[in-house]
Amino acid sequence: MSDPGILAVTKAGTDPVRAQLDGPSGTRPRRLISRRNIFLYGTLILVSLYYLLPLYVMIVTSLKGMPEIRMGNIFAPPVEITFEPWVKAWSEACTGLNCDGLSRGFWNSVRITVPSVILSIAIASVNGYALANWRFKGADIFFTILIFGAFIPYQVMLYPIVILLREMGLYGTLWGLVLVHSVFGMPILTLLFRNYFTSLPEELFKAARVDGAGFWGIYFQIMLPMSLPIFVVAMILQVTGIWNDFLFGVVYTKPEYYPMTVQLNNIVNSVQGVKEYNVNMAATILTGLVPLVIYFVSGRLFVRGIAAGAVKG
């Protein structure tokens, strides 16, 4: 073992000669336009254009008059901008049953989505909390069934739920649909909340118990205030999911309560009359608007929400 002092002296000695170094020195030059960058950004920009194209076509189509659409090219920007298709889509478009436009579906969707989101999140967050912090015998079995349930095709459970709702007197009502959304939102949301509450330090929970807080006390006073981000994630997940639902809306409600997606499909795919593509596209944008706005505003939280499904439990 040599004297460690010698090593230290040689190391310190290299510093003063820095100014006279030959050859490469300092930061390596890097070209902004390299072959790698052209390929990389070129590909990404092309892909982005492909993804944006349908949105663009939707918007320009909805702003054109029908004659212009028949004459021209779907990619061309409108020569004469008109908002008439939007007005018509919102308040006059016909579904075969009635002709008061999408507005009815919009308000139905609002009336379905708001209570569904609140109810499903309330139930799932308490479930997740009980599973994470107050494990009781058998809880894991129910949770496993719940998670497997998320993979069962909805079609398998469609009819039994019809029977259950009919027994409860809720078949064909808004509240029946709210219940269905809460039930089918439960697996993913419970998983989301359970994982989140498990990730919180367990000692915090223990400290609260020593401090004499009970099940609900800890939930409301300790856990809830710490969990706002995950509630926002759950909300994004549920609002977009429920707003975009088609199957449950069509199965469990009456035409007067049809959500926006169902009504949109009925407007566009109704065989009566002349196809008004501009009105159809305006209606399509209107229906996609709520989830799109949520998506663009929420950004990273949306990503976190959908990735939650991939996080192992």
Partner: protein, 298 residues
Amino acid sequence: MASEAKRPIGLFRNLAAKIAAIPMILTALVVFLGGTLWTVTYSFTNSKLLPRADFVGFDQYERLWATERWQVSIENLMIYGLCSLVFSFIIGFVLAALMDQKIRFENTFRTIILYPFALSFIVTGLVWQWLLNPDLGIQNVIRSLGFTNFDFNPLYNPDIVIYGVLIAGLWQGTGLVMVLMLAGLRGIDGDIWKAARVDGIPMWKTYLFIVIPMMRPVFITTLVIIASGIVRLYDLIVAQTSGGPGISSEVPAKYVYDYMFQGQNLGQGFAASTMMLLAVAIVIIPWAMLEFGGKKRV
């Protein structure tokens, strides 16, 4: 001794948590487990307008598999499913790998590629129905550019209509695969890249032989999520083609709905949905064995 706490016994132990879990327990037992068993059981009956406990063995299944519409549905689902898996995985992974190159505007690119996923399948289906409109859509634009023989009309050609749906499905779903893959790539220890660089291994080789094998769990989870979504394929078909032309773009989920709620032939609907369940089980059970069977040993 009087001040001693009583031992809370049996059912009443941890009572608040149990009460709070009642919705979950009901959902798991009554809806998911009970509903599934009920449907499977009644698929062996000859229920028509209303469920009847008149058991007829495998009659419904025999009829199901003899129906042309069901055969077409299964074929379509296989084509759609296989292509959708292969393409969304390849495109999703390549995009994720590109996004992982410490690029600028990563957020912007990700936002653009993922936004279709926020949309309803109905919206997606209707947009692509319009884009693929033979008289006014993409085909028309390209023909008007001078390529008069250009032919791209999937929605009205029974042989390729399912590929028209596939385009829309991929447009909507690839972003999700990309995000999941990107999360997987980000989860890989950064030292792996450093080690590969020091060893002088080219990037593509690092991906192929080191990174992809390390991402096996991410691939499997993504596969399960995507596959169970594919089996449910319904809204997109309803919006984009309504199953047409003819029955050439029918899928099992639509078969179930139509027989249950329009055709008043519940037994067929139950049998068809049980077949869907079987298809999902084939994907899920091996995965669960892999995932949870391995966990038990720890």
